[in-house]
């Protein structure tokens, strides 16, 4: 079923989504991948705050290619989500409600999704040029020294994704 979803969203939206739903996301998402997650965890361990308020937010696991003159961003498709599995439950427990990536997740992630009503969306891997057209603005908000792995804030419009794991325990990959 096709659904149009505004991001950020709260737990009630997760509740209404089911594995297999084809969605178009519009609004704000944050971008972070391996190195940014590692650094966010170090911050939390040291009792410091995250660079953005994670409540009700969606993280897109992605590292774009550099943008050309006149473009918002370079190629911008999803990266493999399982590399963030070690970190994701902690962020979900802090209020994150959505994740966008590709590939399977661990049971710990599935449990944290269920516990916190979180949705995991897959974007099509290797369609970075196409997906970049759905991004209307991009701004680095933290960890600029990490280059492509910096934390970015994106505005997206009708960004196509598929609910692969819902908060009810269903997974489309199985």
């Amino acid at each position: 079923m096709d659904k149009y979803i505004e991001v950020p969203f709260d737990k009630s939206v997760s509740d209404s989504l089911n594995a297999g739903d084809y969605v178009y996301l519009t609004g704000t998402v944050y971008v972070a991948r391996d190195a940014a997650h590692k650094r966010m965890m170090e911050s939390l361990d040291q009792g410091r705050e995250l660079p953005f308020d994670i409540k009700d937010q969606t993280i897109y696991y992605m590292g774009p290619s550099p943008k050309r003159e006149g473009k918002v961003i370079g190629s911008a498709g999803p990266t493999t989500a399982s590399r963030m599995d070690k970190y994701a439950p902690r962020l979900m427990d802090m209020g994150m409600t959505g994740m966008i990536g590709k590939g399977k997740r661990t049971n710990e992630v599935a449990e944290a999704m269920h516990r916190n009503k979180v949705t995991y969306f897959a974007a099509v891997g290797g369609a970075g040029a196409l997906l970049s057209k759905c991004i209307t603005s991009s701004e680095i908000i933290a960890y600029e020294d990490l280059g492509t792995e910096a934390i970015r804030k994106l505005e997206v419009k009708d960004f196509p994704a598929i609910v692969v794991m819902d908060c009810h325990g269903n997974c489309l990959y199985n």
Binding site: G63, S65, G125, L130, Y173
Partner: protein
């Protein structure tokens, strides 16, 4: 002796890196178009349609086909009559990669050390495989490799008694485990024989053989066809969401091996299987 300036190698590699990340080779395009026409899963077809559109946008607007523009793998076949002039050939290859990735707005994905992990900011160094061959030409193949699929690749040190059935099992295991992580439809490169490292390099090089071209060895060609059929029956499908199109091709290379061994490497690549070859 034929003199070849290393600057010519740098220039070629710069251009090849940029081209290969923005436009897939004709064999890969043909695989995608063909799969789109034949995919029966509705969602699978929709995804293949997006991938087709993605290729058009990439080429027209010069946006890389995928944001992971890879670690640059370079195969350099150097004729033994060639004399390189003007500098060190390894430096020249890396300079080509540096310029290509910088001028071409390609992603810099290489870290200087596997543990300390500081980005080198120019995607160097490349992984370079040299081979000395007869003649006076230099054949350069550039194959930037994304790591979503690289991470799902495997080496199996089988026993001779495992035979061809063991090889089939190894290939299917690697592909099933890779599943959605490797951005299917995949291209599967396989190396059978040699030693631990030889089979891995063969598997990598097999990925650069145009999809649809088969091995000249009878049983290997049969194995390529049988494996493709079996893989496409796994129902992994485009993006791992079900369907027939799980792989575009299975390319297998073989080499003599030791009486005690049967090494098998399976190098998984995604649908963004970039390979380009030029001759100097």
């Amino acid at each position: 002796m034929r003199e070849v300036s290393v600057e010519a190698v740098t220039d070629a590699i710069e251009e090849m890196c940029i081209k290969v990340c923005h436009e897939l080779s004709d064999d890969m395009k043909a695989c995608l178009f063909n799969a789109y026409d034949n995919e029966t899963s509705e969602l699978g077809k929709k995804i293949l349609g997006q991938l087709k559109e993605n290729l058009e946008i990439a080429k027209e607007e010069m946006i890389p086909v995928c944001q992971d523009t890879g670690m640059a793998v370079v195969f350099l076949k150097v004729g033994q009559e060639v004399h390189f002039t003007g500098g060190n050939i390894t430096d020249a290859v890396n300079e080509g990669v540096r310029r290509g990735y910088t001028k071409g707005y390609l992603r810099k994905s290489v870290v200087s050390d596997p543990i300390e992990r500081i980005n080198t900011k120019d995607n160097t160094p490349a992984v370079i495989h040299y081979e000395i061959v007869p003649g006076d030409k230099v054949t350069i193949t550039v194959a930037p490799k994304g790591f979503g699929s690289e991470n799902m690749s495997r080496v199996f040190m089988l026993k001779p008694a495992d035979g061809i059935e063991g090889v089939k099992k190894a290939i299917l295991t690697a592909v099933s485990d890779a599943g959605p992580n490797a951005c299917p439809p995949m291209v599967v490169g396989v190396g059978i024989g040699g030693t631990f490292e030889k089979c891995a390099i063969m598997a990598k090089e097999a990925l650069t053989r145009p999809a649809g071209e088969h091995s000249s060895i009878g049983y290997v060609k049969d194995l390529e066809e049988e494996m493709l059929e079996k893989i496409n029956g796994l129902n992994i499908g485009p993006a791992g969401l079900g369907g027939r199109t799980t792989a575009f091709a299975v390319n297998i290379n073989t080499y003599p091996t030791h009486i005690a061994g049967l090494p098998v490497a399976v190098n998984i690549c995604c649908h963004v299987n970039r390979h380009i070859q030029w001759e100097i």
